[in-house]
């Protein structure tokens, strides 16, 4: 008894070639972004909270100037833009933990999507949200009266954004390390501490001497220094670049190794 009866007959064999770019494409990116922007928690922590922080902690310092005459409010704004971008990229990267916990990664392994294309999609999504976070913070600053030369907006913004790639890798690293659905509850407090050491909430110079020395080796420090360099006129410090590159390597290689372990057949 054939109860599952054939109702259709395929006349042409479907196109069975591999997907272009391993399945990485704008269509997926668009859905991923929509998904991220639908998440109230992500919006609150990446787009709203840093802006509110600026209004609370930055605005009261209006009128004060840095050593080179530039406004202190710009210093605060750029620091918070770095913070916003890093939270944004970390949360997107860390979302792989949720997807692994839910079993979606397993589902994906039954499609032609290449694992590397999956990671590329996550990075692209993270960087898009990171860019949005920087732009929103700058808009809040500009609306609240921050005035700096155009090149400062551009270079500081660029540094904050590019530097957040380190944290996209950090997010992926943690995401592949802990298969927990609510990984951001672990990462969130970690980011706050790192931001503190990176001088994003208060200048590193106000920390006790020992902590200042420690701070120089923490992952946010380099990005913070580089993003503020166009404003402070300090120039691009070797220590800042070295810090950023080293942490990018640490998290990048760490994430890659865990990723390979994750996709290995058991």
């Amino acid at each position: 008894m054939t109860t599952v009866s054939a109702t259709t007959t395929r006349t042409v064999e479907p196109d069975r070639r591999l997907p272009a770019l391993g399945g990485f494409c704008l269509g997926v990116l668009r859905i991923e972004l929509r998904r991220v922007l639908r998440n109230r928690r992500t919006l609150a922590f990446t787009l709203i909270m840093p802006g509110v922080f600026f209004l609370i902690f930055g605005l009261p310092q209006g009128g004060q100037s840095l050593g080179n005459g530039r406004p202190v409010t710009a210093y605060v704004m750029i620091s918070l833009a770095v913070y916003a971008a890093m939270v944004a990229t970390t949360s997107v990267g860390g979302a792989v933990a949720t997807e692994r916990a839910l079993g979606w990664s397993r589902q994906l392994r039954l499609t032609p999507l290449r694992p590397i294309a999956y990671v590329a999609t996550k990075l692209a999504t993270a960087m898009t949200l990171g860019l949005l976070a920087v732009v929103v913070e700058f808009l809040v600053g500009a609306a609240a009266g921050v005035r700096v030369p155009a090149y400062v907006w551009l270079l500081s913004g660029l540094a904050a954004w590019v530097g957040s790639l380190v944290f996209a890798a950090f997010g992926l690293f943690v995401g592949y390390l802990v298969p927990a659905e609510n990984v951001m509850q672990i990462i969130g407090p970690m980011l706050a501490v790192l931001a503190m050491f990176g001088g994003l909430f208060v200048p590193v110079e106000v920390l006790p001497d020992v902590l200042q020395q420690v701070a120089k080796f923490t992952p946010v420090y380099g990005v913070g220094v580089l993003a503020r360099a166009p404003l402070t006129g300090d120039g691009v410090s070797v220590a800042g670049v070295a810090n950023m590159v080293c942490w990018a390597l640490v998290f990048g290689i760490g994430a890659a190794r865990l990723f390979r372990r994750d996709t290995a057949r058991v």
């Binding site: 599952v4 009866s5 057949r265």
Partner: protein, 299 residues
């Protein structure tokens, strides 16, 4: 359709977890177009076998060929698709977005709208997955499996946890999309599902195949009836010699006889012996299933 390769070729497949041998030298060959039920109780090794079949797990020993190639090849070219027992969905995407996103992972797929329609979830395309019932999520997984128009469709207990109506809807959706040449393998521990939807039933127990045949053949395994009677001092050998008798068991004053000709046996018992309380019961597929899939005790 044009392929001359078997859809599935498992040879000596073995997989252990510590001391437990979950799949034990299992070999199976499935022809293109067959609809095969992989029937067995929980823990029989169905999921472990399917994981190896799809390349999600590596066998300790043995080989897997699907559609003439490796599982990875078949997956990469969209020739095999599966509805997993444990495959997750993203709760914060809508049903439609989930299908659309997955469609981008292939070079070419059937239209998203068509697949949603086929799976019977077109009306809930806008619903967030986290708000869908278990049955709706299962049909979404099915929709994802339909996308590449696969030559081989594997379903691991696709209706577990669904109510009767949900199960019926699910199988209707599968039937609606059946096409000539597509091979379907589904694992189930529901006997009636295997009976109703498969051309061929493969019974598994403790990682091994204990019976394999068309639904009718499997039913024949269980054909015949059991005749029970009270007959002190029954002559076991004489009864066993009667035509049609398969097995005779004496339990105290009772005798149990499995036979293909219960009428002849009953006549014999009532006319030639002192038997009384004669009961005739037919064995059904359920009995065969139980007999074949539970550990043999004695006899």
């Amino acid at each position: 359709m044009t392929s001359t390769h078997p859809a599935v070729e498992l040879d000596g497949l073995t997989k252990s977890f510590g001391a437990l041998t979950a799949v034990d030298g299992l070999s199976l060959r499935v022809r293109p177009g067959e609809v095969v039920a992989f029937l067995g109780p929980n823990g029989a090794g169905k999921t472990t076998t399917i994981d190896m079949l799809l390349g999600l797990a590596r066998p300790d020993a043995g080989t897997v060929r699907i559609l003439g190639g490796t599982p990875d090849d078949a997956v990469a070219h969209g020739r095999v698709a599966a509805v997993l027992q444990t495959g997750g969905l993203l709760k914060d995407l809508t049903v439609g977005e989930t299908v659309e996103m997955s469609s981008h992972f292939y070079r070419h797929t059937r239209p998203v709208a068509e697949v949603l329609e086929r799976a019977g979830i077109a009306d809930i395309a806008g619903r967030v997955v986290g708000r869908c019932s278990g049955g709706q999520q299962q049909r979404l997984r099915f929709a994802l499996a339909l996308l590449p128009d696969p030559d081989l469709m594997v379903l691991d207990e696709p209706t577990t946890g669904m109510d009767v109506e949900g199960r019926r809807d699910f199988w209707q959706a599968l039937r609606r999309d059946a096409r000539a040449g597509r091979t379907v393998i589904f694992a189930t521990h529901y006997l009636d599902e295997a009976d109703a939807y498969a051309d061929r039933i493969v019974l598994v127990r403790q990682g091994r195949i204990v019976a394999d045949g068309t639904t009718a053949e499997i039913k024949n395994l269980a054909a015949g009836r059991t005749v029970r009677a009270t007959l002190p001092g029954a002559d076991q050998a004489a009864l066993a010699a009667l035509p049609g008798v398969d097995a005779v068991e004496v339990r105290g004053d009772s005798v149990l006889v499995r036979t293909g000709d219960s009428d002849a046996l009953a006549r014999h018992l009532l006319t030639r012996t002192a038997a009384r309380d004669v009961e005739i019961t037919s064995r059904n597929l359920e009995d065969a299933f139980l007999a074949l899939t539970t550990a043999q005790t004695g006899a």
